[in-house]
């Protein structure tokens, strides 16, 4: 089945059985291995992507559900030459250690900041509660997101 979607801002077409997991479609035929698989059952959040702006677990979404919709992955948050501000804050403030949860974590944070430009720490923790990290203890992820929100507001809301 041919499926057309907008992936990181570009129109893409894939020919796949509609029940193929979005995660497998991204990592395989669509060539974007940045989205990670940690559990395959929607618990760890490593495969979080945005579907029409809302965070979803790509292991629980079928490619058929993405027809005509917009998908954003971690590859869409930075460009080839420089890091997006949120991504840079994770590097600068210790938000990434082993890095396997980081793509999903960044996507959840991106969705939060789009919705709540000035989140409280509690709102940050709520927004990433579906993304498990075993390395950091979360404190530095919270710090990274808070700092990104501050920088974005200083830059006049541009991301």
């Amino acid at each position: 089945m041919k499926i057309t979607l907008t992936l990181n801002g570009l129109s893409r077409e894939v020919d796949l059985p509609p029940l193929v997991r979005l995660l497998d479609a991204l990592r395989g035929p669509l060539g974007l291995p940045g989205t990670k698989e940690g559990c395959g059952e929607g618990e760890c959040g490593s495969c979080t992507v945005l579907l029409d702006g809302a965070p979803v677990n790509a292991c629980l979404v079928s490619i058929g559900q993405c027809e005509g919709r917009a998908v954003t992955t971690v590859e869409g948050l930075s460009d080839a030459t420089h890091l997006g501000p949120l991504a840079r804050c994770f590097v600068d403030h210790g938000g990434a250690q082993c890095g396997i949860c980081t793509p999903g974590m960044l996507i959840s944070a991106e969705a939060l900041l789009a919705r709540r430009p000035e989140p409280s720490d509690e709102e940050i923790r709520e927004a990433i509660a579906g993304n498990l990290c075993r390395c950091t203890g979360y404190q530095r992820i919270v710090d990274s997101i808070r700092e990104a929100s501050r920088e974005r507001r200083q830059a006049g809301g541009a991301s």
Partner: protein, 758 residues
């Protein structure tokens, strides 16, 4: 002009002690970092799968392939195909595939490979095992009592004894009698039994490797901590020469010990399938298989009897440690040793006897997990001292402060602490930052159905390998001069998230005056990095970082000598030297400080060259109706000697502390008849961002004279040690419930509360 020349010729502020952006950061936040499952498919590649035992103990009478299934494109490997059926670890009694005996549930029995993943899953179901189930031994105390012999002659993987003072007698019975007498003579005697449970490492990236064979031998790339452990296991398993085995680390999504020894097993499996099929084989565990089949933290039972003076001076200590090693020995003797060496806590004792035993059970082998035996025994001694404080009517932290080791004091193994003992400062800072004394003075605050409490722990953790371990290991690092005045570090120490490659660059840059960007870090591959020893035991920065520092300094000195002799700037001299000598490399081997003396026979002497110290404080809220515990704040002051990269250093402490909090409150492997009932992230509960408290970490720096960068010592494991006892003390403060057993699940707390009231 390059940065190398600019920085080598002019002084710049040091990188050590600053928070430079982690050098693998950009690749990780853009999704470009290639973990093993992200590596491109190789031509003809197959997926591998493992057929496992569904029962914990059985005779394996046969394996049948369902004749109705099409096996034409499936590679099958059984024990009978293997020339050597041994996983080389400390011992080699663990089979690569079970041949005729099943010794634990999920034990590998056969291996399958197929290009089609879906067909592979069907093939696993089409393998029938003919099993004659036997009664398993699942309880370590039953194993010790030899209700049935399942391992060796007596089920015992290993025994150690540590003796000090009046108990230091060669005859075990006389020593035991002496410690009993010493305790009996004390004014206050306290007894207790403290237990801890399994814990799953739960790195977010599951275990995985890719194996292939060519005319150079076997190549394995995978998610792993210790390339040379896998190298050794492959040498042994395939009877190959050292240069025929090539093990490379892919970017690794967490390890925590779980990728220390286990990757040898999955590497052997994938290599066997690749050898038989003649094709590359990728094996990636799914989460359930990973939780079920791989190693976990050893459960432990600690029985303690202690004696002290009425004024709180600790005198005599007797501890019996029993650990559950699981079905095979793997690293159990070393875990047991670490547990025993940390069992006396951070305290002065005149007389000590510690008896440590690890036994086999028909459960999956337990193995390396951050802390490596110490969190189990530190849980016991910290809870025990809380009990002693109760008995004396003292605040536990006052009692602990009174008895903490100082410089010049002697540990249970007779080691005299020669310096870098920052524990008093840790205690003072953590208690002040958390307002422990103010909060502890008043009775616990109860509002509605919520009671608040605060508790603390203080502890130490040895850095580097135990005793003579580092002497035997002889860790090595190479530093090469590259064109343009750049350096390359070659080491087998892996970055599994903790920041090794960044910190090593900082150390090498400051040792030479070069810029960070002028230091390369070679991908750890046994084909071209020397054996630096494993990435374990809080040794990477302190031990291997020290060798990096020496090797980098040596190369820079040769360039500077060339500069003096022939003139020119650093880059010109470096390139001239390279042209002349073609290869400029310093290969440096670790040297233990000369004064370190350890006797493996008597277990006496300098167990570690130095210790890290910390004081943890937890504040909790306990729901008095449900007895659910929420950690509302967590403080740690940790003596790391010297923080090379303060942000990453605090990241280690916060991450380790949250693993300790998880172990204390929620993480529980539920067993039934030797099988795991909760092998999923849905029901094996690790903390989320909402469960994690705000963390407040203070770094204390009591430099270690032999540590790199101005005195760094190990920090990797230390933060796993103190969280659980601090939380238990806080729960006790809030509710009066004194817990001796982990985890502190509401139903267990309820049971304790009911018993107390009744």
């Amino acid at each position: 002009m390059t940065t190398a020349a600019q920085n080598a010729s002019s002084a710049r502020p040091p990188f050590i002690g600053t928070n430079v952006p982690r050098t693998d950061g950009a690749s990780k936040v853009t999704g470009r970092a290639a973990y093993v499952d992200d590596l491109p498919r190789e031509p003809g590649e197959l997926f591998g799968a493992t057929v496992r035992s569904p029962v914990p103990r059985a005779r394996l009478r046969g394996i049948t392939l369902d004749p109705a299934f099409d096996w034409s494109d499936v590679t099958v490997v059984r024990a009978s195909d293997l020339a050597v059926n041994e996983v080389q670890c400390i011992s080699a009694e663990q089979p690569i595939l079970a041949a005729d005996q099943i010794r634990h549930a999920y034990e590998p029995v056969a291996l399958l490979a197929c290009a089609d993943k879906r067909k592979l899953a069907q093939a696993v179901r089409a393998v029938k095992l003919d099993l004659e189930p036997l009664t398993p031994v699942l309880d370590p105390e039953q194993s010790l009592a030899k209700v049935d012999v399942i391992w060796g002659d007596d089920n015992v993987h290993k025994r150690f004894s540590i003796t000090k003072g009046r108990a230091d007698l060669p005859d075990p019975a006389a020593s035991a009698a002496a410690i009993d007498a010493a305790i009996a003579n004390c004014e206050v005697v306290v007894r207790g039994r403290y237990t801890t449970h399994h814990q799953e490492q739960l790195y977010i990236e599951p275990q995985g490797v890719i194996a292939r064979w060519d005319d150079k031998g076997v190549h394995v790339t995978g998610s792993l901590q210790c390339p040379y452990y896998v190298h050794k296991a492959l040498l042994h398993g395939f009877e190959l020469a050292a240069d025929r085995v090539h093990v490379t680390q892919a970017v690794t999504g967490g390890g925590f010990g779980g990728k220390e020894e286990y990757p040898s097993v999955i590497a052997l499996h994938a290599a066997l399938l690749a050898q038989k099929s003649g094709k590359p084989v990728r094996m990636i565990y799914d989460r359930k298989e990973d939780i079920e089949a791989t190693t976990k933290r050893h459960p432990a039972i600690c029985e303690i009897v202690s004696g002290c003076d009425r004024d709180g001076t600790l005198r005599a200590l007797s501890i019996r440690i029993l650990m559950d090693g699981g079905a095979y020995m793997t690293l159990t003797p070393v875990v047991l040793s670490r547990g025993a060496l940390h069992a006396a806590g951070v305290y002065r004792w005149d007389d000590v006897r510690i008896d440590a035993i690890a036994v086999a059970t028909n459960t999956p082998p337990n193995g390396a997990f951050r802390g490596f035996g110490a969190p189990q025994t530190i849980w016991a001694i910290e809870r025990h001292l809380d009990r002693v404080a109760q008995e004396l009517g003292r605040d536990p932290m006052d009692l602990k402060a009174q008895n903490m080791l100082r410089e010049g004091d002697t540990t249970a193994t007779g080691q005299i602490l020669r310096g870098s003992v920052g524990v008093a400062e840790c205690l003072e800072k953590a208690l002040a930052a958390s307002e422990y004394h103010e909060k502890r003075k008043n009775p616990p605050a109860v509002r509605g159905r919520v009671a608040r409490g605060i508790g603390a722990s203080v502890f130490m953790h040895g850095a580097g390998f135990t005793g003579s371990g580092e002497k035997h290991l002889k860790g090595r690092v190479a530093v090469d001069l590259l064109p343009g005045g750049r350096l390359r570090i070659r080491t087998a120490s892996t970055d599994i998230g903790q920041g090794t490659e960044t910190v090593f660059r900082q150390i090498a840059a400051d040792a030479t005056g070069l810029h960070l960007a002028d230091i390369d870090f070679a991908v750890p591959s046994t084909s071209y990095v020397p054996d630096s020893g494993p990435t374990v035991a809080s040794r990477t920065v302190m031990v291997v970082g020290g060798i990096v520092e020496r090797a980098a300094r040596e190369v820079a000195a040769r360039v500077r000598a060339e500069q003096e002799a022939g003139g020119g700037d650093f880059v010109t001299a470096a390139d001239r030297l390279l042209t002349k000598e073609r290869e400029v490399t310093a290969l440096v081997q670790y040297e233990h400080p000369g004064w370190v003396a350890w006797d493996d026979g008597t277990y006496k002497g300098d167990a570690y060259p130095v210790y890290g110290y910390a004081c943890d404080v937890a504040e909790v809220e306990v729901d008095l109706d449900t007895l659910e515990v929420t950690v509302t704040g967590f403080w740690s002051a940790t003596d790391v000697g010297k923080a090379i990269h303060p942000v990453m250093c605090k990241g280690q402490i916060e991450g380790g502390s949250l693993q300790a909090i998880g172990w204390a409150l929620w993480e529980d492997v539920v067993w039934k008849n030797g099988l795991i009932q909760n092998p999923r992230m849905t029901n094996y509960i690790i903390p989320t961002a909402l469960d994690a408290p705000p963390m407040h970490v203070d770094l204390v720096e009591a430099p270690y004279a032999y540590g790199p960068g101005g005195g760094a010592k190990g920090v990797g494991e230390l933060p796993m040690d103190g969280g659980a006892p601090a939380i238990a003390a806080a729960v006790e403060h809030a509710t009066g419930i004194f817990a001796r057993d982990l985890p502190l699940l509401p139903e267990k707390l309820l049971e304790l509360q009911t018993t107390r009231k009744g």
